[in-house]
């Protein structure tokens, strides 16, 4: 799967984009977040408090209980502040 990070999530993780092989036992965005926390110190910091994060799956806003698959493009970011 393709992971994208924006704003301070990108800065904490240390990159804006990475390829990731989704294990079989990770059915939801929330489970993916738990897994990503262990990926390194930057990820740990970025994903420490999931309530600060929002997610998109294939460029659509999704809740953390949404299903994910290895074909998806998943993005993590803080609440949007455009306009």
């Amino acid at each position: 799967m393709r992971l994208l990070y924006f704003a301070w999530v990108r800065q904490k993780v240390g990159c804006g984009e990475e390829e990731f092989r989704l294990p079989d036992n990770v059915p939801t965005v929330a489970a993916l977040v738990e897994l990503l926390k262990a990926r390194g110190p930057g990820h740990a910091q970025a994903f420490a408090d999931p309530s600060l994060l929002r997610a998109a799956c294939n460029q659509e806003h999704v809740r953390f209980d949404a299903a994910v698959s290895d074909d998806d493009e998943i993005a993590f970011f803080p609440p949007v502040t455009g306009g």
Binding site: L4, F6, A7, W8, R10, A56, Q59, E60, H61, A75, F77, P78, P79, V80, T81, G82, G83
Partner: protein, 147 residues
């Protein structure tokens, strides 16, 4: 006619108004909203980051929703990205309609939804510091009233 542009270049409100109403003899009302970088004496610049692809997709969804709610004749949305100085234009929402009530309502709806759905993030630079702008709870409430 729906026009959506995400760009680093500035825009001219008059030119956009003109192209939205040209060939539209039945337009009676044109409402524009321009968002500007609000200076406070200390703000050096704002940097706007976005999610290419999703941005255009979300804005297209928002404009379709507006068209389904009000009888509109055209919508133009331009959102700038990159570094912007205080006083710079950030966003333009322009709505053409036969009557003013629809044009005003749709322009407000579009702004409320842009603020809460379109994947843009603002980073403020003050002196040597930078910080990501926090979402405004008033914006969430403004968007909720359209549900």
């Amino acid at each position: 006619m729906i026009t959506i542009r995400v760009q680093s270049d500035d825009f001219d409100v008059g030119v956009e108004c003109e192209s939205l109403t040209r060939h539209q003899g039945e337009t009676g009302a044109l409402v524009t909203f321009t968002g500007l970088v609000r200076g406070d004496g200390k703000l050096r610049a704002l940097r706007l980051e976005h999610y290419p692809g999703m941005t255009e997709r979300e804005i297209a969804l928002i404009t379709s929703e507006a068209e389904s709610r009000w009888p509109l004749q055209g919508i133009t949305i331009i959102h700038r990205v990159g570094e912007l100085a205080p006083g710079a234009r950030i966003v333009l929402v322009a709505v053409a309609a036969a009557h003013r009530a629809a044009a005003f309502a749709a322009a407000q709806f579009l702004m409320d939804y842009l603020k809460t759905r379109a994947p843009f993030w603002k980073e403020e630079f003050r002196g040597a510091d930078s910080r990501w702008v926090a979402p405004n709870s008033g914006d969430d409430e403004a968007a909720l009233k359209w549900r």
